[in-house]
């Protein structure tokens, strides 16, 4: 019997947005254009034009013991070439950023191959082979997953996702990697993701409208759509909570096992 992936529970717009992010068949809307070179600059792992450093020879030139798995799994281009593993990390504001860490983690794993992603309360890191990382970063920055004001590309000193916005609607960033231009309303990166100054600012365009963000966000909020309004999502959370509690404490689950150990 073939199952259809459900991605994420819920009946509201928020749940629908989450499913759209995760569903690899759904095409993410591209809303801005950033040059490849600019992405490389913001990531800050290599200089634009510089070759990729490698950590091992291309897989084709290496001798391996016979291994079924190696034949079965096709390596991604970066792995085949022996590129280094590098990272990109995003911080998403609680003020209706389009994505958020858990949503990102699931999205990455549904959509991309060979990712190693880590979820934290306010940030989401993803590690990949460098050349593939650049392609993935381009998708993540150019599409609706990214908002220049409410999402930050931050490698270190990420604090700010839960703080109030500033007067221009920008998320707090202690290192001020990106600045708001009062005249044009555009936001540009003036530092790379760890805070090293860039030679030239990288323009990432205008911030999305607050009302629009309320439509495309994946964050339940009391002043937008509360999670309590989403019966199905609550049902799933409650089911998992009950199952974990019962399982965690071994209620019923380990009863017979325990009895045997006690000699009953």
């Amino acid at each position: 019997m073939a199952y259809k992936a459900q991605y994420s529970p819920g009946e509201t717009k928020i749940a629908e947005n989450r499913r759209n992010h995760m569903d690899p068949d759904y095409e993410l809307k591209k809303i801005r254009e950033i040059a490849d070179e600019d992405i490389v600059k913001v990531l800050g792992h290599r200089n634009p034009g510089e070759g990729y450093k490698s950590v091992h020879p291309p897989l084709e030139e290496m001798d391996f013991e016979e291994d079924m798995m190696k034949e079965l799994v096709e390596p991604i281009p970066g792995a085949a070439a022996g590129n280094r593993t590098r990272y990109v990390q995003f911080t998403d504001s609680m003020y209706n950023a389009p994505a958020q860490p858990y949503d990102r983690a699931r999205t990455y794993m549904w959509r991309f191959r060979a990712v190693d992603t880590g979820t934290l309360s306010g940030r989401q890191v993803v590690e990949m082979r460098e050349s593939d990382l650049e392609k993935v970063s381009k998708t993540l920055i150019e599409t609706e997953l990214f908002d220049p004001a409410k999402t930050g590309i931050r490698g270190a000193t990420v604090h700010g996702h839960s703080l109030r916005l500033d007067e221009n609607g920008m998320m707090f960033d202690a290192l001020q990697r990106y600045v708001y231009n009062d005249e044009t309303g555009n936001i540009s990166y003036v530092k790379d993701q760890v805070g090293r100054p860039l030679d030239e600012p990288v323009n990432v365009g205008e911030a999305l409208d607050d009302e629009h963000l309320k439509e495309i966000t994946t964050i339940y909020r009391n002043d937008n759509i509360s999670m309590r309004d989403d019966k199905e999502a609550i049902d799933v959370v409650e089911t998992i909570h009950a199952a974990r509690t019962d399982g965690g404490y071994g209620l019923d689950v380990f009863k017979n096992d325990l009895k045997r150990k006690l000699g009953e």
């Binding site: 270190a156 000193t157 109030r164 007067e167 707090f172 202690a174 001020q176 760890v194 805070g195 090293r196």
Partner: protein, 162 residues
Amino acid sequence: MEEIKAVDVKIFPYRRLKPQTTEIILNSIMEFDGILRVIVNGNSLPKVVGYGPAKGTPVNHEDRKVIKVKEDQVELRVSVGELIITVRYENLDLFLEKLQNLLENTMSFGYEVSTGIFTKTNITVSDYLKLGYGIDNNIDPRLIGMVDPKLKSQDTVKLIGD
């Protein structure tokens, strides 16, 4: 020193304030009667990058600015998120009225103003640790509760006006 009745007024804007807005608000507040002290709170902004590959690089944050309050230069070390003003109790009603007017004209977003005690009022163990025993008699009571005792107060406390 004669004892006075004082009360704290907290301004909590729904957005973090720009240095310019802070400057306007502070300067206007300084004109009001009965002001004893003002505490500017917020998330601290580093001067140099603290960790990561860029450690030691200057940050040059736009919000970490020197503003002018009543002819005095004050360096903002935080992204301003909260102002706590201690006011003489007898001036409180008039102060709140004036403050309401001021904030309506300067802030284009929401804010909350609450009255109560938002700073500590007694000398505590951490003050003894920082300043030593016996400070009870020769400390300016206005300084109690003003700063984090771990900080050097000459950086964070500024005496303005008379």
